[in-house]
Symmetry: C2
Subunit: 293 residues, 2 copies
Amino acid sequence: MTHPLKLKQITLIGVGLIGGSFVLDLKRLGLVEKVVGVDLDADNLARALERRVIDAAFEQVCSESIHGADLVLIATPVATLPAICRTLAPLLAPHTLVSDVGSTKQSALAAFAEYLPQHLPHCIAAHPIAGSDRHGALAAQFGLYQHKKLIVCPHERQDSDGLKTLEALWQAVGAQTYRMSAAEHDAVFAAVSHMPHMIAYAYVHQIADHPDGQTYLDFAASGFRDFTRIASSHPAIWTDICLANKTSLLDLLAGQQQQLAYLQALLQSGDADALYHYFEEAQHTRDDWQARQ
Amino acid sequence: MTHPLKLKQITLIGVGLIGGSFVLDLKRLGLVEKVVGVDLDADNLARALERRVIDAAFEQVCSESIHGADLVLIATPVATLPAICRTLAPLLAPHTLVSDVGSTKQSALAAFAEYLPQHLPHCIAAHPIAGSDRHGALAAQFGLYQHKKLIVCPHERQDSDGLKTLEALWQAVGAQTYRMSAAEHDAVFAAVSHMPHMIAYAYVHQIADHPDGQTYLDFAASGFRDFTRIASSHPAIWTDICLANKTSLLDLLAGQQQQLAYLQALLQSGDADALYHYFEEAQHTRDDWQARQ
C-alpha cells in the first residue's frame, strides 16, 4: 500500500449485498485495484463477475484466492467464521487485514482469537448497520452505506494502524464509524435488532400454528405487513445470530414475557388508565426515536 | 331516498381520517347531498368545513345534528360508542341507518343492543380495514378505501335492506365487503391487528425500561423502524380496542408467551436445527402472505 487507503486487492469471502456493496463503492472511488470474490455459489459468482462487483472468482478459500490481499473481508453468516478463519490461518501474509461484517461481535473475536492467534492484531471485528430484504451479488448496490453506521469492536491486541485503515475505508463509502466493546455491541444489537427478529418470527409462528390462522391472514393489512417484514429474513442467518448472541437474548426474552404478563394483568383487571399510560410511554419512546432519524 | 344509494344526509360523528375519507368519496360520487359533522374538537370541525369534508358542523350529538340523517356514521374511539348510542336513542328517525367503523364488533353490537334496542334492525356493525399514522379531518383523503376490505357483522335482528345499502355505499368508495359474525371478526382482528399492536408497545416499553435503552436506540435501524411503527399508534384508541377485545387477546398473549418460552428453550439447548426450522416456518408463512398481496 502506497497510500494507506489505496488497496491493491481485497478478497471478499461471501459475495452478497453487504460485502458486494462495500467493494462496489471502493472500486468506484479508486480505493481498490482488484477484488477477488470467494463464494460457494458458482451462479452467484458468475453474476458478480458480470456486474463487475468482483474481478476474479473462486469457489473456495485457497492460496490463490487469498494471495495478494491487503484486506480479507469475510461477509458470510456468522456461524461460518470459525471454519473460514481456520482455513485462512496458513494463507495470510503478515500485513493482511482480516475483517468481518457479522451481526455478533463477541463470537467474531472468539473465532479470531482461536483460529488466527498469530494474526490477531490485524483482525478487526466490524458490523455495518445496513441491510435489505434482497441478498446475493445482484443485490449489491452503490451508496448502500451512505449515512449508515459502522461499528468496530477493538480488542486488547488490536493494531491501531490497521483499525484506522479499516475505519477510513468504511468512512470513504459513507458510513459513520463508532467504536464499542464487543460485549456492548452484542447487548445493543440484541435489544434493537435480534429481539425484534425473534419476536416477529414468534408472532408469525403463533398465527401459523392457529387452526384458523390462514383465514386470519386474509384480513391482515399494513400494520401486519410492516410488523412482520423481518420475519421474511433469511432463517439460516438469523439462527446463527441468535445462537451467537444467546446470553443477551435469553435475558431479553425473559423480560419480554414479563411485559406481556403485565399486559395480561392490565386486561384482566380492566385497568384502562394503566393500559393507556403503558401504551403512551411506548408511543413517546417510538415517536422520539422517529423524530431523531 | 329516491335511489337506495342516493342519500340526502349523512351525519358523521367523529370527523377524522376514517369517516372523513368515506364521506369525501361519497360526495365526489354524488351519493350524498349533505354531510353534517359532529366532533368535540372545534378546530377540527373548522378544518373539515374549510376542506369541504363536511357541510355543517356541530360540537355535540343533538336533535339539530341528527335531524334529516339517512345514515348516522359513528367514527369515534370504540369506548365512546355506548354513550353516543344512548344520546342518539331519542333523536333517530325510524328509517335512519346507524353504523360504526370500530375495530371491535362484539362491543359495538352490545352497545347497539343495550342503548338502541328499538332501532336495532337498522344498526350495522362495520369495520373498514384501512388506516394511517395520520389522523383528524386534515388526514381525510379521496380513494382511501380503494381495494381495501370492509367487514360487516350482521346480527339476528338485522334489517337486510339497510345492510345492503350500507354495503353498497362502501363498495361505491372502492371497498370489498365481507360478512362474518362479530365473534369471528374479533378473533380475526385480535390475531392480525390487535396483538401486533400490543407486542409492539410491549417491545418498545421493554427498551424504554432498560437503563441503557436510550443508547440502544441510537443504533436502531430499518428493521426496528418497521417493526415498531404501530407503537406510534394513538394510545387512547388502542386502550379502548384492547379492552373491548380482551378475551381474544388474553388467549393470544398466553400463546405468545409460550412461543417465546419455546425460543428460550431452543437457545438454552443450542438446538440450531430446531431454531432454523422454527424461523423457516415463520418465513414461509410471511412470504406466502406477501405473495398474495
